[in-house]
Point group: D2
Chain length 405, copies 4
C-alpha cells in the first residue's frame, strides 16, 4: 500500500519476432536437470507443509542444491537392465530444530528429503523404480541463526535474504509457445496413452530462422515396451507424425520436426532407455541448470541465473521476485498499446520483501505509441498492488499454480 | 575453409547503456559457485594433460557437475574454528580405460579429481586448509561408448556432442567493466598485500540507475587476522576507501559503494570467516550456477545456460561455442560503425565442430548507419576464419587464456 | 579322495559345563550387526545366483564389509517418527565385467547390492520401511585379476584365497542352546502373532553361575502398537512370562529372566522404537562384529575372527572352513565316547580348497576313555570324506541350510 | 573399596602349549583392519582431549565403526600410481553440543574426525599421501541423551553403558610371543632403516605343530623403492634372513619362515604396493575385525568380540573391562603356582563401572597344586584393588600405555 521504487521506461527496439534468428530450449519432465529442480522444489514444499503444520509459519530453508549422478544401464529391445543405480544427493539447509518455550522440537528433515524425492519420482517417472534403480542420499545442514532472523515472526512479514534480482517478460512469442507446448504435448496424457513407449525425458530445441522453425527433439524411449528395431521405428514415426499434426494446429509458421536425430540406424544406435530418462546412462543433473523460472531457456530474453526451485517461498527473493516479475509482466502486457513488457526487480538484503530496492519496467510499445502518463499510472498501480499482495506469490507457489522451471 | 551458415542482421535497438536501469553481478574467487566452477575446470585441464601425455589426444570427458556442500564454522575475532569440514563431490564422466592394441590402460581419474581440486584450493584460498577444513570425494563414471565415437581419431576433427548453443557480445558497457574490475581489484595482489584480512569470497552486485551506479559488495573477512571489532571496522573502512579510489579512476559516472551491508553492529554481526569463504558456514555451490562464460551475470544481455567449466574443450559445444561467440563478438565490435555485436552459434549433434548449424550475428550500428555489403563481408570473413581455426579455442582454454566463468 | 593333513589328539580338560561361570551372547534378527551380516550374505547369494545364471559358475566376490550408520528417531507411544534415515553402505568387491570370447559382459553389481539389501529388510523387519526410513548406498569395487585366478575354471576346483583358519566345536552345552533358542523364540511366528508389539532387535546375554542361569534380554518394542505405558508394561510382562514358560520347558537348570533391564520407569525411559531396531536411534552395525559362524558369541570356546557373511562360498576359506569345521565337529561329537570335539582347519594361500594345510581335531573324551586307533580312524574318515565333498559346503550355503552368524 | 562379585576356580586342563596344534595371527600396522582400529582409537583420544580441555571431563562418544574401502592402484617397479584413492568413513557417535548454563557450546567433531585420521596416517604410513591417495569422510551422529546420563558428573563415577564382558589371560605362550614380536620386528626402526622397501602392511600367521613353528608372513613392499625384480628378490631374501635371525634369538623351537608366499615369479606376480598397504588395491577394513585387545587373534584362547578401539574409556565396558581383565590376568599369572590365568568380567547396564556384575578367575595351576585359601585371598585382593582404581585404566588408555588391538 506504500509506493515502491518503480522506474518505467519505453525501449526503442524491435520485437524479438522480427529478429532473423531465435533459439529457445526446454528440458522436459524426465531430463536430469528437470528432475533435480523438481526434487529441490518438492522438498521445499514438504518442508513448508511440515513447518506450517507444526508451527503455523514457514521456517527458513534453502534446498536448491540437488545433484543427480547418472547411473549405468544396458537398455535392450524388449528388456534391458540397470547395472548401477542413479545416485541423488539432496543438499542445502533447513531448520531442523526449533526451540518452543525452552523445549526443542525436531523436524524430520532427512526423512522428508528422501520421502519427497521418491514420491515425486513415483508420480512422474513410470519406469524408474525408486527401490531398485535409485539411491537417494541427503546432506542437509541446519539453518543458520542470522538467516532465521530474517523472518519477522510477529508481523509475518519477511525480509529479503539476499541482494539479488528477478526478471520476467511477456508475452511469449511464437517459438517460445511452440517449444513449451511441444514438450508438454509429448509428455501429455494423450501421448502417454497412445504411445506409452515414449519416455519422460524429452528435450526440445527450437530454432527460428526468418519465418521457418526447426524443432529438434530428443525423446527417450522405453526399451521394455519396444520388442525390436521395427517397433522402434514405428513408434518414432508415430510420435513424429503426432507432433507434426499438433504443431501445425498450433503454429502458423512452417515447422520442421527432427526427432532423435543422433540415432545411427546402421550401427543400431537408437535412443532407448530402461527407465525413460538419460539419467540412467550417465547424464548428470543439478538444480538450477535447466529451464528458467518461466519454463524456458531463452538466450535472447533477459534471464535470471537464480534457481527458483528449492528456495523457501517466504523470504528468498531469488524465487519470489522471479515469479513476481513474471506476474507483473503478464498483467502489463495486457495493457493497451504494450507489445512487449520486461520486468526486473532488485532486492536489498534486510529490506522488507514487499519493498524492493527497485522495480524496472521496460516497454516495447505499438508502432508509434509512447509512454503516456496514464499508461505509467496503470503500470505503477499494477506493481504497487502486486507488492502489497506479495504473500500471494507464496500461496501460488505452495499451491503449485506457477511454473518455476 | 568452407563457408559457414552465417546470418548477419542489423538490430534496431537502443544501446544497453541508454536503458534507465541495469544490473550486473559477479561472483568472485572464493564464492562457493566460483569454487565449484574452478574445480570442474581444473579437473578437465588435468585430464586433458594426462590424456595428451598418454595418448597424444584429448579423450572424452565432461566433469561439469561439482557440488560443494557448505561446512559449519565458528568464526571469532582473533581466531575461530571449523566445526564440520566443507564437503565437495566431484562428479561427471571421464574415459578411464583405453584399449590400445588389445591392452587396457587405466587413467587415474579418481586420484586426479581429488588432487586437482586440492591443488586449486591451495593455490587460491589462503586460509582454507585442504587437510583440515575439507573433504573432497568423487563420483565420476566412465565415458559412454557412443560419446567417445564423436572423436574422429584420424583427422583429429571433433564433432558436436550435443545440440546446443553459445552466445557472446561486445563491447562491455561501463557497469559491466566496473563490476568485473571491482572484484578483480578486491582479489588483487595489491589488496592482498595491504589488507590481508580481506578474504577471497567477494561478490559484487552493480546497479545503474540513469547515470548513477551503486556497487553492493560482500567481502568475507579472515577472523584470525582481526583481533576485535575496531580492527574489523578499520579494515572495512580501508577497503571501502580503496575501492572508492579505484572506481573513481576507472569510471566517469558517480559510484556509491556499499560494503558488507548485512553487518549489524549493534548485534555484533559482521562478515568474518575462518577460511575466507562463506562455504564454511553452509553456503553451497554448484558448477554452472555462477558467472556466465564471460565472467559476469548480465540479465539484460543474451546469456547461455551452459556451464563452460569442466566440459572437454574438443567436442563440447556448450564450452567451445560460448568462447567462440565471445571471440567473434570482440573482433566484430572493433569494426568501424559497430556499436554492439551479439553473436549466437548453434550446433547440431554429430556435425563437425567447425561447421556450425548456424551463426547469427546481430549488430547495433552507429546512429544512422546500416549494414553494408562490405561490413557483411568483413563479418563473414571473421566468422569463417575463426571456425577454420576452431582448434585455437581448445588451445586458449588449455593455456587458460580465456575467462570461462 | 587323497588323505589330508589331519592331527587328532585327546585333550585333558574339563567340560565347559563344569566351569563355575560361563557367558554366551546372541545378537538377534534386528540387531544392527546382524542386519549388516545379513545384507553381506544376501548380496553374496544374489551374486552367486547371477553368476551361475550367466556363466554357469560362481565368480570371485567378497562383500563382507557392510557398514550401517544408525539413524535418528523419536519413538512415542502410539506413534513416533523417523527424523533421519538409517544409512547403509554396501562395500567390498565383486567381478562386474567378464570377458567372454572377446566380448565384455557387465554384471549389475550396484543394482543387486541395493536390491538384495532392501529385499532382506522387507522380508525380515516389518516396521522398517525401505522407502522412508533407509538409505542404501554402495561402494563395491571390481575384483582384482590375481584373485580371480584362484578359480581353476576347467576343473571347477577352487584354491584358497588366503592363509586363514576356521574353527568349530560340538556339542553345544545347556547355556549355548538356551541363549540361541531364546532369541529364536522371541523372534518366532508364535510371539510375532501373539505379541506383535515385540520388535526384531533382540539381544540375549546368558550368564551361568554354577547351576544357575541368568538371561538378560533386550527387546525393542514397536511404539506404534503400544498406546501407553500400561500397554508397554503389559507387553513386557507377557513376553517375560512367555520366555520363562519356554525356557522352563527347554532347560533343567533354574533360569532367571531379565527383560529390558535399562528401562527407568520413573523417568518414562522404556525401550520403544519406531522400526523395531535400535539402528534407528544411532546404534551402528558392521559385518563380522556380531555372532560367530555358529550363531553365538562364546568367549570360553575357540572362535574365528573371520566374518563368514558376504564371502564367496567357493574359494573363501574364512567362510568355507568355518562351516566345514562345524560340520566335522558335529559328526565327531556323535561318535561313541566323545564328550566334546574341537575342530580347527588352516588353509594356505594357493592350495586347493579340498586340501587344507592342516586339520586339527581335539577331543575331550568320556571319563577314563582314551583315543583308540579305531576312533582315530573314524575321525580321519569323517574329515577326509567331508573334504572330498567340499562342494557340499558351497551348496549348503547357497541353499541357506547352514547358520553363518 | 567394597568387595566385588568374584568367583575364583581352578581349571583341570592342559596348558595351551601342550596342545599338538596352535594358531596365532597378528594383523600389523598397515593392515586395513589395523588402520580402521587405529583411526577409531585416535579419534576417541582426540575427543577425550578436546572434552577435557573444554569441560574438564570426558563426554560420551563411541566411534568404534570406521570403514575403509580399498582403492585402486597400479604398482610397478620403480614407480606405480594410485588410480582411485582409498575411501575412509569415520562413523559412530559423539557429543557435539553441550549446554553450559543455558548456552550451547559446539565441539568440532567432524573436523577432529578427519584431522585425527590424517594425522595418524601421516605418522605411521610413510608412503600413503593423505592429500593424494585418500578420501576421509565422516558420518558421526550426536550422542543420545540417555547414554549421556550414564555419567554421574558430580562423583565423576561412570556407570556401565551396556551388558557386556571383557576377557584376558596370561601369560602368553611361545607362539603368541613370537607372532607379536615378529610383526613388531618387521615394523621396527631397525628394519625401516635397513630395508626401507618393506611397507607397513605386515600380517603374521603362526602355526605350531608339536614343537615346530611355521610363520607365514605377508609384507607389502614399496614399488617406488624397488627398481626391478632382482631388487625385489634381494629385499625379500634380506628380510627373510633378518626375520630368521631375529626369531632364532627369541625362540627355542625351530621356526620356518614363509614370506610373501603368494608370489608367482613365473607370472611376475609379487607383493608390491605404491603406499605400503593392501588397502590401495581393494582390501577393505573395519574397526573391530582385526586383533583382539591384547594385539593377537588366538582361537584357542578366550576372546571378546568387542572392538576396544574407538569406545570411550570412561563408561564403555567393552573397552575398559577388556583392558582390566588383561591387567588382572597379568598380575595373577605372576603369583606363585599359577601357570595360566583366565579372567572374564561381566557388566550390567547401569551398574557403576567399579562394581562388575561378576569377575570370574580361572586358574591352571602347577602340576599337583590346588587353589589354596591364601591364593584365593591374594587374587581377591588383586581384583578388588584393580577395580578400586578403575580410573587407572582410563589413564593408561589416554596415555597410550596399553595395547588395544
Amino acid at each position: 500500500m506504500s509506493s515502491k521504487n518503480i522506474v518505467v521506461e519505453q525501449l526503442q527496439q524491435q520485437l524479438i519476432e522480427t529478429h532473423s534468428v531465435e533459439f529457445v530450449e526446454r528440458k522436459g519432465l524426465g531430463h536430469p536437470d528437470y528432475i533435480a529442480d523438481s526434487l529441490s522444489e518438492e522438498l521445499s514444499l514438504e518442508l513448508c507443509k511440515e513447518y506450517k503444520k507444526r508451527f503455523g509459519i514457514i521456517l527458513h530453508h534453502n534446498v536448491d542444491k540437488v545433484l543427480l549422478v547418472g547411473g549405468h544401464s544396458l537398455p535392450a529391445f524388449g528388456g534391458g537392465e540397470i547395472l548401477s543405480p542413479i545416485y541423488i544427493v539432496m543438499s542445502g539447509r533447513a531448520t531442523n530444530e526449533v526451540n518452543i518455550n525452552g523445549k526443542w522440537e525436531s523436524i524430520p528433515v532427512g526423512r522428508l528429503a528422501i520421502e519427497s524425492a521418491k514420491g515425486w519420482i513415483k508420480n512422474n517417472l513410470r519406469y524408474l523404480d525408486t527401490e531398485r534403480h535409485l539411491i537417494v542420499d541427503h546432506k542437509i545442514g541446519k539453518g543458520s541463526m542470522d538467516l532465521i532472523c530474517n523472518f519477522d515472526y510477529k508481523s509475518g512479514k519477511a525480509c529479503s535474504n539476499d541482494t539479488s534480482f528477478g526478471v520476467g517478460y511477456a508475452p511469449w512469442d511464437t517459438l517460445e509457445k511452440l517449444v513449451y507446448d511441444t514438450e508438454r504435448f509429448v509428455n501429455s496424457k494423450h501421448i502417454r496413452k497412445n504411445l506409452p513407449e515414449v519416455g519422460e525425458d524429452v528435450k526440445v530445441m527450437g530454432l527460428r530462422s526468418g519465418k521457418e522453425i526447426k524443432l529438434t527433439i530428443a525423446a527417450a524411449m522405453i526399451s521394455k515396451l519396444i520388442p525390436d528395431m521395427s517397433h522402434y521405428l514405428s513408434v518414432k514415426s508415430d510420435l513424429k507424425n503426432a507432433i507434426e499434426d499438433h504443431v501445425t494446429k498450433k503454429c502458423e509458421m512452417p515447422v520442421e520436426v527432427y526427432l532423435n536425430n543422433a540415432d545411427m540406424l546402421d550401427q543400431e544406435i537408437v535412443y532407448i532407455t530402461v527407465t525413460g530418462t538419460s539419467a540412467e546412462m550417465g547424464d548428470d543433473g543439478e538444480t538450477g541448470r535447466g529451464n528458467r523460472s518461466n519454463g524456458l531457456i531463452t538466450p535472447q530474453r533477459p534471464m535470471s541465473l537464480e534457481a527458483a526451485a528449492g528456495k523457501n517461498p517466504v523470504s528468498h527473493v531469488g524465487k519470489i521476485y522471479n515469479v513476481m516479475a513474471q506476474l507483473i509482466a503478464n498483467k502489463i502486457a495486457e495493457l493497451k498499446g504494450v507489445d512487449e513488457a520486461y520486468v526486473k526487480i532488485v532486492s536489498q538484503i534486510g529490506r522488507p520483501i514487499d519493498d524492493p530496492h527497485m522495480a524496472n519496467i521496460q516497454l516495447v510499445l505499438e508502432n508509434g505509441a509512447s509512454l503516456t502518463t496514464q499508461l505509467n499510472g496503470e503500470i505503477n498501480g499494477i506493481v504497487n498492488s502486486e507488492f502489497d499482495n506479495v504473500g500471494r506469490v507464496t500461496d501460488l507457489i505452495l499451491e503449485k499454480k506457477v511454473t518455476l522451471f
